[in-house]
Amino acid sequence: MSDVSQPAAHPPVTDWVHDFDHTDPQWTDDPFPIWEELRASSPVVHTERFLGCYMPTTYEAVREIANDTEHFSSRRIIVRDVRPEVARNAAPPITSDPPVHKPAKQLLLPPFTPDAMKKLEPRMRAICNELIDGFIADGKVDAAARYSKYIPVQAIAHMLGIPESDSDLFINWIHMILELGIKDESKLLQAVQEMSAYFSAHIEERKNKPTNDLISYLMNARDKEGNPLEDSHVLGSLRLLLIAGIDTTWSAIGSSLWHLARTPADRERLIAEPALIPTAVEELLRAYSPVTMAREVVGETTISGCPVKPGNMVLLSFPAANRDPKMFPDADKVVIDRRENRHAAFGLGIHRCVGSNLARMEMQVALEEWLKRIPDFRLDPAGTVTWSQGTVRGPRQLPFLFGKAM
């Protein structure tokens, strides 16, 4: 096994069906043809990389695994080169299995209902407009770096009651955990430590001076026996909210703008029919789902007829499920008024994303405000679009020019 402090080099993939690697540059750049090849081969494929990992390739196989918490544990939810010991209270409820999962999940749900999100909406619109004010006069922008990135960070900071000005700190931790941390354990540990220290200070502050925010809400929460949560549980949940809430929605907003920059017809239609934006958001979530989760196999079973053995991880690709033509006619086309859309962008089963209502609200508001003020925009041919590697996929560089092409 490689030294954990050194990032492991991954040889390039030549046989996707038997040796897939979701960190390969080809996957990062354009995963869709790869998923099609894997799906044509089998509902479940396997790689020896990452100490052994399966990937369900169909919507049905993804659903079976998501609903089978007996054979598939969430104690590890990122496929990585190493399998360090599992920390207790790592990030409940996303890292929890039944029966621990349900109470931890129920604790987080009330602040994230659609009604709660409606109260946040005016602040979100203001945040979007403040960001647009910062670059609209330039005639061009890197929309990933200056727009889509800051919307979820400022939203979650607002909810947690921490300074929106600490945004760059959070963005850096997330990059270290979700991207660098896949191959470099030390980066991940450093980020987790820094994050814990940051939140511990905020928890301490609130012990004397309670506030009306999500941190105080968690500190005041009581379990069924009426006991407060352990500090480690509060910290784990805060880490989760920050990690799960930021580069996911950053990616979803970025991918949506990337699509609209390249598709004037869709842009024009949404400007003419803004009431269609929520439906379009669902379709963009389907076609460009950002989040791939993972499970660890803890019991022998079969999925869609394929044997699955313990000791392996599972790359639970909701994005690939959402491109399965058996489930979605014209799966590779973005149909912004798609009527039937049971997409799995926020997961399926008990681990449905706690923040799905927040993400949807952010996406709708971000697209509405952008289209109101910048109805015409296109990719800047002088720039390059780059995509994040690993567990969350979205544009990290998104150079746009404003106005109609000459």
């Binding site: 749900l109 009330p110 994230f112 209902t113 659609p114 009527r339 399926l348 089963g349 799905s356 209502n357």
Partner: protein
């Protein structure tokens, strides 16, 4: 005369995606956790039949039934 419809949410399957509430707000209610149940006894008022089918066909957990009476 169109048939009368009733919607029903299976509480064991619902995971709170809230798609039904977004698509057919008059036919569904959400509890404090954001999980859905049918409004009243689930009877679909005339004119909202299309929304009932829309909610059913967009539920990721296949938790919604539309019953023709």
């Amino acid at each position: 005369m169109a048939e009368r419809l009733k919607v029903y949410v299976d509480p064991d399957k619902c995971q709170g995606h809230a798609r039904c509430k977004a698509l057919a707000p008059d036919l569904f209610e959400l509890d404090e956790y954001g999980n859905a149940h049918e409004a009243g006894d689930g009877t679909v008022p005339p004119g909202l039949e299309d929304k009932a089918w829309l909610a059913k066909s967009n539920c990721p957990e296949i938790a919604i039934d539309v019953i023709e009476e």
